[in-house]
């Protein structure tokens, strides 16, 4: 949706000459011929615009037939042709002459409700300040921005839940079974999985509920199943392999290399002839998109005892595999358009979308910053995080007091003096992790954590520990 610069045009035509539409150049030309002095208006609203001010309406040429009389007080009609058409082609000769006598042009933008206008009223309109579309645009943008700033992540989350509620009416399973799965797809999927194929779901809408429904109907209490949430921004293949290895039924050693780990898992599974099911939500997740991770999944897919049902959402999702990998996975593709909103999958994107004015950072950015901190700085930050988590449920909690933080740091030998602590806090401020504010209650200095979401703060605490 490109914004065209609107160029309003005023066309004046006469009743006596109904079909003749005279453009503004003609008028200017006539004006210049009649040598009427023209004054420029004092203000110039924007570059390239000029105002033509007419003392009186330009003379309208009429056929001076004897039979026709020139009517007095003849009305002129204002026809606004279009507010987005460009100007009619300019005659350069006239432009030159115009420059002698004219400095600005004024163009009307509004539609007039009554097209009948008297000449003296037209003067008034032409004399009014320039009403340009640009002004309206900037006002709209400012309003939009201010509204956007007021939105919180909770608002978005609630909105997403409402959208889901609208389509599901509280019964997710019924919606999926009746509206989405019209046949015996679940049966088919289960048959194919048991026969050694792997299933890949794609289509518009979140498929997380569908996968969990399939699990409940066919795999619950029957087979060892791992539901891997690939859409999570902090998931790593190493964690996944560790969780699978550590399961008592598999009990494989976790090795340094991921490839060795998966091969060890496959060995144990083949030895025990244990059928396991991997339900991977978003196999094209952010952290799964590199070749090494996909090679791990490929090795798993090639094992006859590991059955994979996965979903992809990204429009370019299938590009993570080349021809060889694609055949190694033995995918059977199913198109399933659930049209359910992506609630859990878009947590990170929603937070990113409403992070304005560089005052907040995304999860990955914060984690990256924490990794770059010195061990001492991390300890100090951990104190702040722990204090936040302990008190976040309190209504009036603004943040940890500076004096309190200093006491704790001094006791634990993190800092020697107040200046060192302040230097450290300045580093945190530079990294946009905290803010120093004055308390509204007692005017004391408070260190406020800029990350507001509890879940993210908990994750950070885990990372710090």
């Amino acid at each position: 949706m490109t914004t065209n610069r609107s160029v309003p045009i005023v066309v004046i035509s006469s009743e006596n000459i109904p079909n003749k539409i005279r453009n503004i150049d003609d008028i200017e030309y006539e004006v210049s011929q009649s040598f009427l002095p023209l004054k420029s208006t004092p203000s110039r609203k924007s570059k390239g615009r000029s105002l033509i001010k007419y003392k009186s309406a330009p003379p309208i040429p009429t056929n001076n037939d004897e039979n026709n009389e020139i009517k007095e007080n003849e009305f002129t009609r204002l026809h606004v042709i279009s507010h987005i058409l460009p100007r009619f082609p300019v005659r350069h000769g006239i432009l030159k002459q115009k420059r002698k006598y004219t400095s600005k042009k004024k163009i009307l933008t509004e539609k007039t409700s009554d097209n009948i206008m008297r000449p003296e009223n037209m003067d008034k309109i032409l004399l009014e300040p320039n009403l340009s579309n640009d002004d309206i645009d900037t006002k709209k943008k400012k309003k939009f921005k201010s509204n956007l700033i007021q939105l919180t992540p909770d608002d978005l989350h609630e909105t997403a839940l409402k959208i889901q509620e609208k389509s599901l009416h509280g019964k997710a399973h019924d919606y999926l079974m009746i509206n989405i799965l019209r046949g015996n797809e679940f049966d088919e999927w289960f048959r194919y999985l048991r026969a050694g194929f792997n299933i890949l779901l794609h289509g518009v809408g979140s498929k997380k509920s569908l996968v969990s429904l399939f699990f409940k109907k066919y795999l619950k209490n029957e087979y060892l199943t791992f539901i891997i949430n690939g859409f999570m921004p902090n998931i790593t293949i190493k964690q996944v392999l560790q969780i699978i290895s550590s399961h008592p039924d598999i009990n494989a050693n976790t090795l340094n290399s991921n490839e060795e780990s998966i091969q060890e898992i496959i060995k144990r599974i083949e030895a025990k002839k244990l059928n396991i099911y991997l339900l991977i939500n978003n196999i094209d997740g952010m952290n799964f998109r590199n070749t090494n991770v996909q090679n791990i999944f490929k090795l798993a897919a090639q094992c006859q005892y590991i059955h994979i049902l996965a979903t992809i959402d990204h429009i370019h999702g299938p590009l993570i595999w080349n021809q060889q990998s694609l055949t190694s996975f033995r995918w059977i593709w199913y198109t399933v358009h659930t049209w359910l909103p992506y609630i859990d999958e878009t947590t990170n994107e929603r937070l990113n979308t409403i992070r304005l004015k560089t005052s907040q950072l995304s999860i990955s950015a914060v984690e990256h910053v924490i990794e770059s901190l010195t061990p001492n700085a991390r300890r100090i930050f951990r104190l702040l995080v722990e204090a936040f988590l302990a008190n976040c449920n309190l209504k009036d909690y603004e943040g940890m007091k500076f004096t309190e933080l200093y006491e704790q740091c001094k006791r634990s030998f993190y800092v020697n003096n107040e200046q060192n602590l302040r230097l450290q806090l300045i580093e945190f401020i530079d990294h946009r992790l905290i803010k120093l504010v004055k308390s509204t209650n007692d005017g004391q200095e408070i260190v406020r954590l800029l990350i507001v979401e509890q879940d993210i703060v908990k994750q950070l605490l885990d990372k710090l520990n």
Partner: protein, 542 residues
């Protein structure tokens, strides 16, 4: 918030009824049969290649023993596989085993990229193998780079019966840097008088794969034997014959449409793994197929031969469409006529000879047609025996009555076969048609996704979802989409279909932002709010 991995163990109780579906037996005999066929065909064709290589090595060995002379060139055996090398890893394992057992050779296999990424690595691998037969007696040399000349000095002092030849096997030659190979050959060529050295190279492509080697600076130092006994088409022919045209009990039928799909897919990718996957899916999915348009041995052979032996235009190139049209009983013999009419005597002879060679096993009708083909061949051979050396045989001579008559006979013969073996079309009861195969095996995910977003047919009775509304505006926009304008358009579209109170502006904004986040997540946009309130469009579609 969700956990990264949810673990659900098995908790069976006697009281709860178990899922009946998990105890249903699944018939995977066809799938196993397909796996066996593929393994057998590969090993059969690999065996031919191994035999060819062993013959050449045997010949070279004999030459050295008898003449007691060395070669002036380094012998290279190039195996042109015409398909992805990763599917033929067993070939090189088999080759290594056979060469090491049958000949007194030291086999050095350079199979990983690390091993042939530099000359140093190649020499390191060589040293490791040589140490198994000729252990390094000088302990001081352990940490030093392997010096081939020094080794040769020690080698020359050995007795004749202790000497072994060196054979290098490089399965994926095309992924090796040619300059590294050239330098290595230069190094080895200094020593070929003392020790027998040869190479076995695996090449994925056809003839053009060797050009790199032939055009290199070291071509004069090499003597290249190319072994072509493996091609993608050959694998395909053997697999299709074994699956559908053999006498085994595990035979299952396939429709023309399904064969057409498989044929097209295979000859686009030349991937045996894909072929296996597609055939397994067809075999498993439709176990109740009626034998409609059953592929017949004679017909398949006739089509295969005529497509491969007759001139390339128009037949050989469009093989799948040719037998699809015949198998679907559409009387389109134009292509066949054109091809036969434009072929020379030699080509027609080759066509008939090949068909006789490919004759089916014990099938009475096939034998009948083989006899007919032989008859045509013998008759014409006698008549045109004199003309074989003249130029006119290679030209399309319209006035040549004998040639025309021969062409006519061949054409009628092929037509008879096709008409005889095409059974009438019955309304197929199979659900595995070409559309479904495309959907299940090679879907166009992006097109499907965008079609679903843009089609309004589904939403006549219900409200259009927010994502669809946002996408509608998205498609009409340029690269940078100003968010405020986008929001205005979205809000007006929402207000058209819903009654929204003025106070609830924020809900529309929240829906808009949520939709933006979804589009970001799906990869359609990249929203930036930090500098300019714009979203960058990332996909462009018609």
């Amino acid at each position: 918030m969700d956990t990264i991995v949810e673990v659900h163990s098995v908790t069976r109780t006697t009281q709860k009824p178990s899922n009946k579906k998990s105890h249903e037996k699944i018939d995977i005999t066809r799938i196993d049969h397909i796996t066996n066929v593929f393994t057998n065909v590969k090993s059969q064709l690999h065996a031919r290649l191994v035999t060819s290589v062993l013959d050449i090595v045997k010949k070279n060995d004999k030459f050295r023993r008898i003449t007691n002379r060395c070669f002036e060139y380094i012998p290279i055996m190039a195996l042109c596989m015409d398909s992805n090398m990763s599917e033929h890893s067993h070939l090189f394992d088999e080759l290594q085993e056979q060469l090491s057992s049958k000949f007194k050779s030291i086999i050095i296999k350079l199979q990983t990229i690390d091993q042939y990424s530099s000359i140093h690595n190649i020499l390191k691998t060589t040293k490791n193998e040589l140490n198994k037969f000729y252990p390094d007696k000088d302990p001081e040399n352990k940490n030093v780079f392997f010096q081939l000349s020094k080794f040769i000095g020690i080698y020359n002092e050995l007795k004749e019966n202790e000497k072994r030849s060196l054979i290098f096997i490089i399965p994926e030659f095309e992924s090796m840097n040619i300059s590294i190979f050239e330098n290595f050959i230069n190094l080895l060529s200094l020593q070929i008088k003392s020790i027998s050295i040869s190479f076995v190279l695996g090449l994925s492509g056809g003839d053009h794969s060797l050009q790199r080697l032939v055009a290199s600076r070291i071509a004069s130092k090499l003597s290249i034997d190319t072994i072509y006994d493996s091609s993608a088409r050959k694998y395909y022919e053997y697999i299709i014959k074994s699956l559908f045209l053999s006498e085994s009990n595990e035979q299952f039928t396939i429709t023309a449409e399904q064969l057409h799909f498989v044929d097209n897919g295979y000859f686009e990718t030349f991937s045996l793994a894909w072929l296996e996957h597609a055939l397994k899916f067809i075999a498993f999915s439709d176990s109740t197929i009626q034998p409609v348009n059953q592929l017949n041995i004679c017909l398949f052979n006739a089509i295969y031969v005529s497509c491969n032996q007759l001139p390339n235009y128009p037949l050989g190139r469009y093989r799948s469409s040719f037998y699809e049209s015949y198998l679907s009983n559409t009387p389109m013999f134009n292509e066949l006529t054109l091809s036969v009419n434009s072929s020379t005597i030699h080509q027609l002879d080759t066509c008939l000879n090949s068909f006789i060679e490919h004759k089916c096993n014990e099938n009475s009708l096939c034998i009948k047609y083989c006899q007919l083909a032989k008859k045509i061949f013998l008759e014409q051979e006698q008549q045109i025996a004199d003309d074989t050396q003249t130029l006119s045989n290679t030209l399309r001579s319209v006035s040549d009555k004998k040639l025309n008559r021969y062409r006519e006979q061949v054409f009628l013969w092929l037509k008879q076969i096709c008409e005889c073996f095409i059974s009438p079309i019955i309304n197929t009861s199979t659900k595995i048609n070409e559309n479904l195969l495309h959907e299940r095996l090679v879907p166009m995910t992006r097109a499907i996704f965008i079609r679903e977003l843009t089609e309004n047919v589904n939403w006549k009775q219900r409200q259009i979802p927010d994502l669809a509304l946002l996408y509608r505006v998205y498609t009409e926009s340029g690269t940078k989409i100003p968010l405020s304008d986008w929001f205005d358009s979205f809000a007006s579209l929402v207000e058209e279909q819903e009654i929204v109170d003025n106070d609830k502006d924020k809900s529309i904004l929240a829906r808009f932002v949520h939709g933006l986040a979804e589009l970001d997540y799906l990869g359609f946009t990249k929203t930036s709010l930090q500098r300019s309130f714009h979203a960058t469009k990332l996909t462009w579609d018609n």
